[in-house]
Symmetry: C2
Subunit: 309 residues, 2 copies
């Protein structure tokens, strides 16, 4: 028997940041409610970036406030600086992910600062957290974007990523997330990097894979084998980074949940309910690329019955 | 440094058996020529089934004869009975795969005979081979379809598959291929079954995965880890089984080759030439579902340069 694996739905954040449709706040919150009903409790609900940069997140405060009122939801949000962090905390969120690009080129394009300046910003945010909260009251995850390569600069060295892992440990991050922002990772690379990160970090590691070149679930398998038990995914593979040329969507939540459940891992997700959620939300994002093999093919006979308990 | 992995292109056989377009013989042979130019030497070029059953393969003799004249091509074909085998051998082919369904229900639908009767037919074909050829002059692979489950009957027991593996060994098969005909396999199942098969069989094992539920490349990773070094794949994931409801295409050759090459395995394939081949063939199959993540996203910067040697 396998153990627990946490799937974090990042559709309302990563999934929405490149779509043309601006979803009304109410639909974003309905999405969160349907997610909880499908057993998907951890949801990255929004991003506290300036509305001028990503108009989709102009309602971040309202989404956060609504999300906090949904029973059973464990909402988190993305932040990229101290200002956004203060907004998120004022809105009542206590679980945030701060993302730093391992690639200098992507850091400049995405956050308009060097990687070192981004680390310094994390330190300032950490200080704010330590002033406001006692241990366990709030979490500030440290996400490392372009950890497996970058569409602007190409290769990103392992040493560089591990230096960021060390910085995250020193600064007290409650979680370290390695992100393949542009879909460059392959299984051996995933395995090697997570094994090395694990040897340095005592806190939970999370993986965030994009399925740009089709290796998303193979990379999940490699990360699972390296001990990773937290995975980001996005409904029907929505997503991408507006500042990483050629980036496409995340691994599809439906396919990830299917693979893990088929293998006997406990995700807490009710697959038929998740497929029903997809059918509800798909029309809201008319014209957007939404792809899930399990949605297309359906659950196997061998599983459909098991899942109806 | 990793070793060699053989990718066998089954597009001209599995890939074409469900498409609406009947490709002219000349285009099938052009496909084989382009495959060789891209470093893809092993190609399953046709299937010797009655033309009434699959009209696409009415030109099996002509394809086989043409394929045997292509320098560097290592052609093989699928057979399902002694009659088809005789046709294939008369056409000059010396490498055949005979497929047996582990699922009784699929065996009845696909070959109109029981699994036991299918084993008896393999024995008759084997006898023909042993009469005509000395060891090493010809190869008759033993493919086990629906080895990981069946869309008609559901689960297929491991014991049943291993009984077929034992039969293949006793009957002297030169290769044993386990096929996930309908895309039910998950990585742990793949790993467990190949490890068990390996313990019984001294001949090379091959894997044939369909990507119906998105787990194709994760299953390849699991099979690689279990020691498998031969994989079937189909251009842009073309394929499916006309007698297995819900079956969709094979893993895409482009994505498989990309994953293996990225991981350092030697496939002999020139990825840019493979992508060029795809661009040539795609218009021939206008309107058919052809999906490859690597075709859509392109090769990563980190690889494009290496590949231009």
């Amino acid at each position: 028997m396998q153990g627990d694996v946490l799937i974090r739905e990042v559709g309302p954040r990563d999934g929405l940041q490149m779509v043309r449709t601006i979803l009304p706040t109410q639909q974003k919150l309905d999405w969160c409610r349907l997610a909880v009903a499908a057993g998907l409790h951890a949801v990255e609900v929004t991003s506290f970036v300036p509305a001028a940069v990503i108009p989709q997140f102009a309602d971040a405060e309202a989404v956060a406030a609504g999300a906090l009122r949904i029973d059973g939801l464990d909402p988190s949000a993305l932040v990229v600086n101290l200002k956004g962090t203060r907004r998120a905390l004022e809105a009542g969120l206590r679980k945030l992910t701060y993302v730093i690009s391992a690639s200098e080129a992507h850091s400049a394009a995405n956050a308009r600062r060097s990687t070192d300046m981004a680390i310094a910003e994390y330190a300032r945010i950490r200080e704010e957290f330590d002033t406001l909260f006692r241990t366990g009251e709030a979490e500030l995850a440290f996400g490392i974007a372009t950890a497996f390569g970058c569409t602007i600069q190409g290769a990103v060295s392992t040493e560089r990523v591990l230096r960021l892992v060390d910085a995250a440990c020193e600064l007290g991050a409650e979680e370290i997330m390695l992100a393949d922002t542009v879909g460059y990772a392959h299984p051996d690379q995933v395995s090697a990097l997570f094994v090395k990160a694990r040897a340095r970090a005592a806190v939970p590691l999370a993986a965030h894979f994009h399925d740009t070149r089709g290796l998303g679930l193979a990379n999940v398998l490699a990360a699972l084998q390296a001990g990773v038990r937290r995975f980001d995914a996005s409904l029907s593979g929505l997503g991408g980074c507006p500042f990483a040329p050629g980036a496409t969507g995340n691994i599809a939540t439906e396919d990830l949940a299917y693979m893990l459940e088929a293998m006997g891992w406990k995700t807490g997700i009710d697959l038929p309910a998740l497929l029903a959620l997809q059918a509800r939300i798909r029309p809201w994002l008319h014209g957007e690329r939404m792809e899930s093999a399990v949605v297309r093919a359906g659950l196997p006979l061998t599983m459909a019955s098991e899942e109806s308990h």
